[in-house]
Symmetry: C2
Subunit: 249 residues, 2 copies
């Protein structure tokens, strides 16, 4: 399916008759001028993707018939990255790389040194950015998007669903280096600070709650670099372990 | 020296009387309004950095006296990344991350699928981008910048100075995964393709010349993501090995 255009169809809509509406249909029909009979790729962001043929096209509605549908197995190593909220213009870059580097989830949390306020819930623009990236890199999995307005208390509550939680801390106290292998061992949460880093109190609260301190090294990394490095180490370790999330071919 | 402004002073100018001219002096005096008596940080991009005091300021010339000068030891693991030339708007991002992630060098090579032409020599804007990044992240080492217009032949000639050369290849033939440790074992060159990847002939020519095929995994990574992941794996391995390039403190 290397050269096919990709479109997102939410999981609840994967049933006969397959149809695409809204912006995705407008993009398919109006912008890309897909013709009846053409083949396209649909994906649901939950590991399901399929080859479809366009059967009929109305102004804002495409009717499609499935040629082949596949469902990728959920990867065993699942990495969530929680980034301290920052006004950084690089937030979209982090979202894009989270999709490419196959993060299972990405959260933004309200830190003491955050500039501005984390929204109460994930913004539609985050999802849109992830969708664009997923179309380009053909990752059939979209990361779960999470907003954590509640500071370290919110983070600690969120952490309950994970087997291992790491605090990626630029401090001499973070003696363990982050291990790529650790970042793909089961359900893992890795937390990076906002621009300006964790406060000592925040770090202590997370350590007290059972987070393990890890370090990406002594260098002074920008916010998005720490995030992307963390995602990249996890990605590489999953690739090495063979926990490939892509369907064959 | 955490809060000091940083300025670049080329290695040949590190001698009494220390003075800064040109854009760096204008930035120091005109933009940042550094006053006589203030302290600043100078670095030469070759591991030397120092704390200086401003002694006198003319319109475009700053006279400085050294308070303390240190010279960082050259790291043992040295990674050069050669990226296939691309029109990507993300080239500046790759240069910035090369500085943050402490690459020893970054080259752009002319590949068959490159869009546009690699310039005959590194552009001043590349160096400028690296300088900006080095000031921000306080890496006292600037990566060497290299332009390789001569295709794989140019790359193979360039490769002679390295102990190990890797072809980061998204192919089933690249059975070895890229190992972070391999990327910091001595003088290492890692080559990534342009947007669109290596042609089979290019890959074969590099393999015939002794490059080893390595893979970053089966995912479809964008040009800059492959580059940054490669840089990040090398960075992490050097941090782990303790080949820290920063001076203490």
């Amino acid at each position: 399916m290397a050269r096919l255009n990709s479109f997102y169809l939410a999981g609840r809509d994967w049933k006969e008759p397959y149809s695409l509406a809204g912006p995705e249909a407008r993009h398919m029909l109006g912008v890309l001028r897909t013709a009846v009979g053409d083949q396209v790729r649909l994906f649901d962001g939950q590991g399901r993707e399929g080859l479809f043929r366009l059967v009929s096209a109305a102004k804002n509605r495409a009717l499609l018939e499935p040629v082949e549908i596949s469902l990728a197995q959920r990867p065993e190593g699942r990495l969530y990255l929680a980034c301290g909220w920052s006004r950084s213009g690089r937030r979209d870059l982090v979202l894009e790389k989270a999709v490419e580097l196959e993060a299972a989830g990405i959260a933004f949390w309200q830190a003491e040194r955050s500039q501005g306020k984390v929204p109460a819930s994930p913004k539609p623009s985050w999802q849109e950015k992830c969708l664009q990236a997923a179309k380009q890199c053909r990752n059939p999995w979209l990361p779960e998007l999470v907003a954590i307005p509640g500071g370290t208390a919110g983070l600690i509550a969120f952490a309950r669903r994970f087997e291992q939680c790491y605090l990626m801390w630029e401090s001499d106290k973070a003696l363990d280096k982050a291990s790529p292998e650790a970042l793909c061992a089961g359900n893992v949460l890795a937390v990076v600070g906002p621009e300006g880093g964790f406060s000592d109190q925040e770090a202590q609260r997370l350590l007290d709650a059972g987070f393990r301190a890890a370090s990406l090294g002594r260098g002074v990394l920008r916010w998005e670099t720490a995030a992307i490095l963390c995602l990249g180490l996890g990605y590489w370790a999953r690739q090495k372990a063979g926990n490939i999330s892509r369907s064959p071919g």
